[in-house]
């Protein structure tokens, strides 16, 4: 009986304490500023301790902080690794799909010529490269120059028998129409010199650092990424500065494509297609007109000779 009474009183005490606590919480809800002030005063020693742990360069705080930082970094890297592995699988699938579709469509890859870089912008006056292959190796003026598989850096502008000069897209005055991946807009890229090109866009188009810059005239043609954005709201235009993915001084070897890798103008393609259509029904060596013409020509020649004699 006594135990039961003790339990009941304990239960009542618990309920009473909980109700008082809830009442205080409700009071705090009605006067949050007062509660915050009082709490800040009460917590001041703990606040100081917490600050010490967070900012002090003493042994214990540093140890705790380093451990926490490392733990956070491990978690972040694990997440990145997971995402990266998934992306890698997706990329691999897309790559194989792309190759399969290109094979089906008969888009054969063009041969490239490997060339070593023998002079760079630090020794040449402008954004030029000198490569150790020339016309003897089959390099033509206007051929695109690649670094890696699909990063196009410039065009061949002069060829000799054993060397050639490459004009980089970053050469001052060089202009190219580019496609910005991200905002998905076409813009004009201008070379600025020093390994930097600039894309000029009107205000309101959202460009970000890291947007990929593609050169659609060259297949395949990725130039680089936007590394800096100059955007003044008072100006009508904004500028995105682009650099190649590889530093100019790190270019050791490049590959030179064929001129046919550069897309031709619509007019040129139309003209070529029209020529093909107009000559598509001609079968060589079957036409009677050819035989008649030669016979007539022969007879005319014989008559002329006889007249001369």
């Amino acid at each position: 009986m006594k135990v039961q009474s003790q339990r009941n009183s304990k239960k009542k005490r618990t309920i009473k304490s909980a109700l008082i606590a809830l009442l205080i919480i409700c009071l705090g809800w009605f006067a949050p500023a007062a509660f915050s002030l009082v709490s800040a005063v009460i917590m001041s020693p703990f606040h100081a301790t917490n600050q010490w742990l967070q900012e002090s360069s003493s042994l214990i705080p540093t140890f705790i902080r380093d451990r926490q930082d490392l733990q956070e970094e491990i978690t972040r890297l694990e997440n990145e690794l997971q995402i990266s592995s998934r992306t890698s699988v997706t990329q691999q699938r897309l790559f194989s799909e792309n190759n399969r579709l290109r094979d089906l469509l008969g888009a054969a890859e063009e041969d490239r010529i490997l060339a070593g870089v023998i002079a760079r912008p630090d020794t040449l006056p402008y954004d030029f490269l000198q490569i150790d292959r020339g016309t003897n190796a089959g390099i033509d003026v206007g051929a695109p120059v690649f670094v890696g598989t699909d990063i196009v850096v410039g065009l061949v502008v002069h060829t000799a028998t054993n060397y050639a000069f490459v004009e980089l897209f970053t050469t001052p005055g060089f202009e190219a129409t580019v496609f910005l991946n991200g905002p998905d807009v076409v813009a004009t890229m201008q070379g600025m010199g020093g390994g930097v090109a600039r894309v000029r866009l009107p205000q309101g188009i959202s460009i970000q650092v890291g947007n990929l810059v593609l050169v659609p005239s060259v297949e395949p043609g990725v130039f680089g990424r936007i590394t800096y954005i100059e955007n003044e709201p008072t100006q009508p235009e904004q500028y995105g500065y682009v650099t190649p993915n590889i530093a100019l001084n790190s270019m050791y070897q490049v590959s030179v494509g064929k001129v046919s890798q550069i897309s031709q103008s619509v007019e040129a393609i139309d003209k070529r297609v029209r020529e093909e259509i107009e000559s598509s029904l001609v079968v060589e060596g079957v036409s009677l007109e050819v035989a008649t013409t030669s016979t007539t020509t022969q007879s005319v020649a014989t008559t002329t000779q006889e007249t001369q004699i």
């Binding site: 135990v3 339990r7 304990k10 239960k11 618990t14 304490s17 909980a18 606590a21 809830l22 205080i24 919480i25 705090g28 809800w29 006067a31 949050p32 509660f35 915050s36 009082v38 709490s39 800040a40 009460i42 917590m43 703990f46 606040h47 301790t49 917490n50 742990l53 967070q54 705790i64």
Partner: protein, 89 residues
């Protein structure tokens, strides 16, 4: 309560506060459970109210205080059940 018990209570109390402020979840939970088992969960309610006030949670919803009240009620219920089982055996 002996001197050692009192010191342990103070250390655990401080540890709970610091672990909450430093976002050390596992340490905070462990210290809270030990404190509740050795002493009582009621002492954690004012701590939770002060922490909610410190972080300005009364301007929105003082979740820590409400959780502390809930924890106190649950711990007392469990404690009563355990004492019934012990007295039954």
């Amino acid at each position: 309560m002996t001197l050692n018990q009192g010191l342990l209570a103070i250390v655990l109390y401080g540890l709970i506060i610091i672990s909450i402020m430093q976002s050390l979840l596992v340490l905070g939970v462990a210290a809270t459970i030990i404190f509740t088992l050795k002493y009582s969960g009621v002492a954690l309610i004012p701590l939770a109210i002060v922490l909610d006030g410190y972080y300005g949670a009364f301007f929105t919803l003082p979740l820590l205080s409400i959780a502390a009240v809930g924890w106190y009620v649950v711990s007392e219920v469990i404690r009563v059940r355990m004492s019934i089982v012990q007295s039954g055996t």
